[in-house]
């Protein structure tokens, strides 16, 4: 396909400009999702639209589940200290029941489903030592 001046060419097609409105919250979340995938936002949209990337209501991993969240915002929403949330997300510590209930409410999940997702991340379904 011939390259049009000023319009980037992607694989088998030319890019076009399309406008749509989303909230700031959705935009920020989408930006974080793209960053977590290591690609530009337009590439995520392109991949979703082409059926190469699937958006699921049932995330398969904990990382997928929180990809659109700002962690400070999530900590505040779930009433968990930010440092503690970092330990759960980055150091793979197991949340206790209190934290699990709070996180599940914020992430709109069943606590058991969330617990299993987190346990699966840690491998063998076994909880990690909490480090304290």
């Amino acid at each position: 396909m011939p390259r049009k001046k000023g319009v980037p060419y992607v694989r088998d097609a030319l890019k076009e400009r399309h406008a749509f409105s989303i909230t700031r919250k959705a935009y920020d979340g989408f930006k974080r999702l793209a960053a977590s995938l290591g690609v530009p936002m337009s590439a995520v949209l392109e991949a979703v639209g082409r059926g190469e990337l699937f958006v699921s209501k049932n995330p398969q991993t904990f990382e997928e589940l929180i990809a659109t969240w700002d962690l400070e915002e999530l900590a505040s929403d779930a009433f968990i200290p930010y440092e503690r949330l970092l330990a759960i997300v980055r150091d793979k510590e197991q949340p206790n029941t209190d934290e699990l209930i709070g996180l599940a409410a914020s992430l709109q999940m069943e606590p058991l489903g969330l617990r299993n997702l987190i346990k699966r991340r840690n491998g063998n379904g076994e909880p990690q030592p909490n480090g304290h």
Partner: protein
């Protein structure tokens, strides 16, 4: 080791409106505010045990001003209680700046020898958030620098505080009940309450928090009773809808 007092769970449960859904077998509790919902969340294992003992499939907790739901499922009854392993305490301590020179802020009071162990404890543990409050007028009279920091105040201001000006009224009532029930218990008792951090409760700009503290009653040589309070956990929250 500070275990949650069972009456804390009972207190929060007793303050909820209850609605049983016979189709799903779920109990839906309407907490008075977010602080009560957080109180129940903290007692997750006990709430799950309560739910099982009444034959509910699970218990849901909701509160005004938010569309979130805290879900308590039967498996939680087997989980380790978060406050039984002092995780909160360790977490709280680990995030504190070290205080190089132990010092105390002291208000106007008559100090008698029987209170010197309290002073020793405070000076030996400057990173702990400890305050001594006189029961008869709720006047906070001695506190560590770390306690003042938790209240987002300077020590000179914090030492003039009166509990009544900062706590929600219903929690003050709960405290009175705890005095009656556990005032004589040597190991003291634990209480979760909602109060402002930095300014009196009627100030709309005040920061709010759900506090959990361990209290031990102390008597001076004149027979005046004080409570020695040590902060275990503090979660900042938005201002409650109703402040009384």
């Amino acid at each position: 080791m500070a275990n949650l007092n069972p009456t804390d769970t009972e207190f929060f449960l007793s303050r909820c409106e209850r609605e049983f859904d016979p189709q799903s077998g779920e109990m839906i509790l309407q907490a008075r505010n977010v602080a009560h919902a957080l109180g129940l969340r903290r007692c997750g294992r006990e709430v799950a045990q309560w739910s099982i003992s009444r034959g509910y499939t699970r218990t849901l907790v909701r509160w005004p001003g938010d569309n979130k739901t805290y879900v308590f499922e039967p498996w939680m009854a087997q989980e380790e209680s978060p406050h039984s392993n002092l995780r909160f305490k360790t977490m709280l301590d680990s995030t504190q700046p070290r205080i190089a020179t132990p010092s105390l802020f002291i208000g106007i009071m008559r100090l008698t020898p029987s209170l010197t162990p309290v002073l020793d404890y405070m000076l030996s543990n400057p990173e702990k958030k400890i305050a001594l409050t006189r029961i008869q007028d709720n006047a906070q009279l001695i506190l560590t620098e770390a306690a003042a920091q938790a209240m987002k105040s300077d020590g000179e201001t914090a030492v003039k505080r009166r509990t009544d000006d900062f706590w929600l009224g219903e929690d003050l009532e709960k405290l009175q009940q705890m005095y009656r029930d556990y005032g004589e218990v040597e190991s003291g008792f634990e209480i979760t309450y909602t109060a402002t951090l930095d300014k009196p409760k009627h100030d709309p700009t005040a920061a709010w928090g759900v506090w959990t503290a361990h209290y031990i009653m102390k008597k001076d040589n004149f027979g005046l009773v004080y409570r020695q309070g040590e902060l275990i956990d503090l979660k900042e929250i938005s201002r409650p809808l109703v402040v009384a």
